[in-house]
Symmetry: C2
Subunit: 234 residues, 2 copies
């Protein structure tokens, strides 16, 4: 990629293609979003989604993973294509088509590394986002909508939690994503009734109240049940 004065020539005009990622995390209270502060024009100094140009020999998803690794150090994540944004005027420099992905990460794994790069990287609660460059606010809006819809019919919420979690944590996660309170007893009845959670012989330590039991999501079991027509639904 270096500073060689190389050029690329085509018979037809080609747009630039980038990938951008909307990375969600959850910290037991808020749903959060990972943003980077731009070092270059346009929108220099503004916050924006991590992302960058797709290399010619690289699949789209690989490009998204590479950019996330490079810009934020994040490596283990749930990643899914969101939507492709291609308004002719969405980038002031040239025609840029951006394939957006959304990602779910376990904040516990990545809270530290996030700021480790040279770039300015930070988590923001989705309710308190700064102004974003380009059309990234629209992208975030669509990602939130998608997450909100998908979390109800696929067990992706667990991607935002540590491997072991309490039912209270799980409920708070759903309440944060869905932006609505849930009834504790109904929530537990339903989620336990699916038999996708394994109760561990382990309890919270050093909490100033009754210690909650830990559970973990049994993905294998989910995949078996899904094959036989089971549908996760909350």
């Amino acid at each position: 990629m270096g500073g060689l004065a190389m050029t690329y020539t085509y018979q037809h005009p080609h747009p630039a293609v980038t990938v951008d990622a909307v990375v969600f995390g959850f910290d037991d209270a808020d749903l959060k979003l990972l943003l980077i502060q731009r070092k270059l024009a346009p929108f220099k100094g503004a916050w924006a989604l991590p992302g960058g140009f797709v290399r010619l020999d690289e699949n789209l998803e690989a490009a998204a993973r590479r950019e996330l690794m490079d810009e934020t150090g994040i490596t283990r994540l749930y990643l899914e294509q969101l939507y492709t944004f291609g308004e002719a005027d969405r980038d002031p420099r040239e025609r840029v088509i951006s394939v957006a992905y959304y990602a779910l990460v376990k904040l516990s794994d990545h809270a530290l590394q996030a700021a480790s790069d040279a770039e300015n990287v930070a988590w923001f609660p989705v309710a308190e986002l700064p102004k974003l460059g380009f059309d990234h606010e629209r992208i975030v809006e669509i990602a939130l909508k998608r997450l909100k819809a998908k979390v109800r019919y696929e067990p992706i919420g667990f991607e935002l939690l540590p491997v072991k979690f309490t039912l209270g944590e799980l409920q708070r996660l759903y309440e944060a994503v869905l932006e609505q309170p849930l009834d504790k007893r109904n929530f537990r009845k339903k989620i336990l009734g699916m038999e996708l959670l394994e109760a561990l012989d382990e309890y919270q330590q050093d909490v100033a109240h009754r210690a909650a039991q830990y559970y973990r999501f049994n993905r294998q079991r989910y995949e078996q049940l899904a094959k036989r027509g089971f549908n996760f639904e909350l």
Copy 2:
């Protein structure tokens, strides 16, 4: 576009970007797909999805509509972005990223025009598709999955039917898309209970059995209800 020996030069390599469209129709028995027969290599002679290159000053959806108009004569349709396919090796010529759309059209409007162009255009039942060029079989598969999911929670099925239709036709449409039989009484109870259909004072003519009443979908009413939190669900 013409045959000018013009070239386009960039500092970084740029992929080509195309749009492809998965166009669905329904003929009162089968869900059908619109395909064109390729006149040029690669995959010359093979059937493929209508599509083509995005122009630099043109939004993605506009490109999809333009290509559909040019290649098949279809103009009024429901169009929605499906997914973006960007495997590095999906086109043998060069790196091509394709933004796929899926479309729903009223076959009654387009049955004739489809074949009017110079290109060879035809409707195929989705159960009897020919081999397709590129990765278009995968695109079709994903489009079918999306249609099947979406038809259950948004009233898009009506896009595949004439403006007026009988409840039998509507049920057959849902059975074709969902690939499962539905109970007649429960289907009617549910769909009429939503109060989105307007019964017309009009009945089938010249049918060799009791004539069915015609209905039409009231989109205005749907949009009002949707604003107040109503969710279509079948």
